[in-house]
Amino acid sequence: MDDIELKNIETEVFLDAVKRRFGYDFSGYARASIRRRVDALRLARGCERVAELIPWVLQEEKALDIVLSSLSVPVTEMFRDPEVFAYLRTEVIPKIASQPRIRIWQAGSATGEEAYSLSILMLEAGLHERTQIYATDINDRALARARDAIYPLDRMRLYAENYRRAGGTASFADYYTARYGGGMLRQDVRENVYFSHHNLVSDGSFNEFQLIICRNVLIYLDTTFQDRVLQLIRNSLTEGGFLCLGTKESMRISKHNSAFQAVHLPSRIYQYRPRLAGAVS
């Protein structure tokens, strides 16, 4: 057996230890990427081999927090893929605007930038009072930063440009103030955005939403886990509710494909149409 095979075994045994010790299952995560992240954790812990992480995971309660923040991907930006947010602004939000209570779920929120982008869209649509945005992730460190709502000032230039390309006409600089060495988002942008810990591959549905945004989560999962997440999304969408995936993600090979109708494929925006499709759930 060569070293690659040994390393792969060590990674699998480590992930199994994480699952059995803490209940977080990474078995259905795309391998090339999760191996890299486990290896980065090994380096950060100063270990020679991934196998050395196993006693640490088994014996240290506080390892969980570090493992979850190391294995999840906290890469995001405000109004990332501006054309998607432009479509949400002009086509999707007007269609859910008639609801007395508008509930939006942003799944896989990382440090919160997308959730707050949605909040700005709802503010500008005059719907903020009636809207609740739930943003969830398994990474508690990222969630803590999300609640702080303070982002590096050097990122704000990009965010302002994204915002403008997403059809924003106000001055983006009005949405934050320079504080604590960064840009802190305005109080009304932060209101009605609720961050909480939720694991998409194992936790259940917790509400019913008119819009679910789950971008760049599915690319990290194998087809079995993808189907699990899409089932959870179906259980959490109102009939006719909207789903927005990442621009390089697809439901095409999923068994849930027939329950959704593509509304705008370039933005990966779908509408949940379970009856229309007569699909099995």
Partner: protein, 200 residues
């Protein structure tokens, strides 16, 4: 620069990394690859987000189907796969493609290193790594990994490259089994993959 090894006997894929000047270099190579080229060609390009018409530009002169890489897409021989802007492109052990938005590596996404490292693990000695023109050091570590796992490393001759930095960095860090001018690369690939015909 050769380490004295021998070329792979039955290579499955060639991974290609290119940056500044890469579009022109890829045009030359793809135009010369023969129609019966059996290997999969997986290319990571550095390109600004928003510009994604690369496929049309390259497909026009290539005898093989040229595809934009998609997540979970099975890699097939005789096809060319192009990275997409702002996503890393990786190969899984089961010969499917993966996309990721992981942190930039060496300040770039897609990262040539990540493609090469994942492909090195997936294909081992049945892989050719090819580094072309570019203005940064991406790909050097990746090529090192390809060669460490028994794959064959080919680098464009820096003297012949539109921008020499990337091939030079690859040769310095990883060494190379062959250093070739652009005009000879496609023909050599065809030989390595056992193609008699040439497309030139």
């Amino acid at each position: 620069m050769s380490t004295g090894g021998s070329p792979p006997t039955d290579p499955e894929a060639v991974v290609v990394g290119c940056s500044a000047g890469g579009l022109n270099a890829m045009k030359v190579i793809l135009a010369q690859l023969p129609a019966g080229f059996p290997g999969a060609v997986i290319v990571t390009f550095h390109i600004a987000p928003g510009r994604s018409h690369m496929r049309d530009l390259l497909a026009a002169q290539c005898r093989l189907p040229v595809l934009d890489a998609e997540d979970k897409l099975p890699v097939q021989g005789g096809r060319v796969y192009l990275s997409c802007p702002d996503y890393h492109l990786l190969v899984e052990d089961d010969r499917t493609l993966s996309l990721s938005i992981d942190e930039k590596v060496c300040n770039v996404r897609p990262s040539i290193d990540l493609l090469f490292e994942s492909a090195a693990v997936a294909y081992r000695r049945r892989l050719v790594g090819l580094i072309l023109t570019g203005a940064n050091q991406d790909g050097a570590r990746g090529l090192q990994r390809v060669r460490a796992e028994g794959g064959w490393g080919v680098v464009q001759d820096p003297a012949d490259a539109e921008v020499a930095t990337m091939p030079r960095a690859a040769i310095e860090l990883a060494g190379a089994d062959e250093v070739l001018p652009l005009a000879q690369i496609a023909g050599r690939l065809a030989e390595l993959f056992g193609c008699r015909e040439t497309g030139a």
